[in-house]
């Protein structure tokens, strides 16, 4: 019973994660400029990654494998915002103009 629930839960995590990364990738393709694409990439790197790795962790149970997955997850969660930040900063200093909606200009 409990094992069945864990399986269902991990499958749910994996499927939801898969949906989210595909959404994020669609966003990366669809959005109009670099800075907005950045946000879409952020989707795939936070919640989607967490969900997929969580699904795998549930799959593995309390083992060393789970510990390693947790490590990977932490590592991605630490480095991905840093990489994103460095990238946007480089783009900003490279004089790439962000697309701004006229209604929002202050």
């Amino acid at each position: 019973m409990l094992a069945g629930m864990v399986t269902v839960l991990s499958s749910a995590c994996l499927l939801l994660g898969a949906f989210l990364i595909i959404s994020g990738a669609v966003g990366v393709l669809r959005f109009p400029d670099f800075f907005t694409r950045m946000h879409a990439a952020g989707v795939t790197e936070t919640l989607a990654t967490t969900l997929i790795l969580l699904g795998l962790m549930l799959f593995a149970g309390w083992t060393i494998v789970s510990f390693k997955l947790l490590l990977i997850l932490l590592f991605i969660l630490i480095t991905s915002p840093v990489a994103s930040h460095a990238l946007t900063k480089a783009a900003l200093h490279g004089n790439l103009q962000p697309l701004v909606n006229e209604n929002n200009e202050q």
Partner: protein, 156 residues
């Protein structure tokens, strides 16, 4: 010194958790590795209060719980906008004040902004952070200052 010890502790946990083999040979190799890694890092001068933030470990778990909730909400929002198409977004950016005193606090704040989909921190300058957001609401929410205040509280 205490930073070196805490680093050694972290590294030891890392080794034991990763290894899975607890023979005397490997354990002694592990001990050697930990000492060596700490020594090299010490030489490189990367072991200090910034790499081992002992002073704010207490409150940080609460903050990250709060942040996870935030991340989930904003994820849903961004995914919705992705499928709705380009019409639904209105990118904009703004310069926000940072109340954190230390570099560490500023880094946590900027990273939290970036981790939340819909907002990306672009640059840190003179105690302000330049944020790019997918919609005006995202900026408005950050301007409310809740995240800013929470991160600043961590520094106590």
């Amino acid at each position: 010194m205490k930073h070196c010890l805490s680093l050694a502790f972290v590294l030891m946990v890392l080794w034991l958790g990763n290894s899975g083999y607890y023979s005397p040979l490997l354990l002694s190799l592990g001990a050697f590795s930990v000492v060596f890694a700490v020594w090299v890092s010490h030489r490189m001068d990367v072991v200090d209060h910034e790499s081992q933030p002992l002073h704010l470990s207490g409150h940080i778990s609460f903050f990250y719980c709060w942040l996870v909730g935030k991340i989930i909400l904003s994820n849903i929002d961004v995914v919705k906008r992705i499928w709705l198409g380009n019409k639904s977004i209105s990118p904009c950016f703004a310069r926000l004040p940072m109340d954190q005193k230390t570099d560490m606090g500023k880094v946590i704040y900027a990273n939290s902004i970036t981790l939340t989909p819909g907002t990306v921190s672009m640059d840190i300058e003179n105690g302000t952070v330049l944020v790019h957001a997918l919609t005006a609401e995202n900026i408005a929410e950050l301007k409310g200052g809740e995240m800013n205040r929470r991160v600043a509280d961590l520094e106590l």
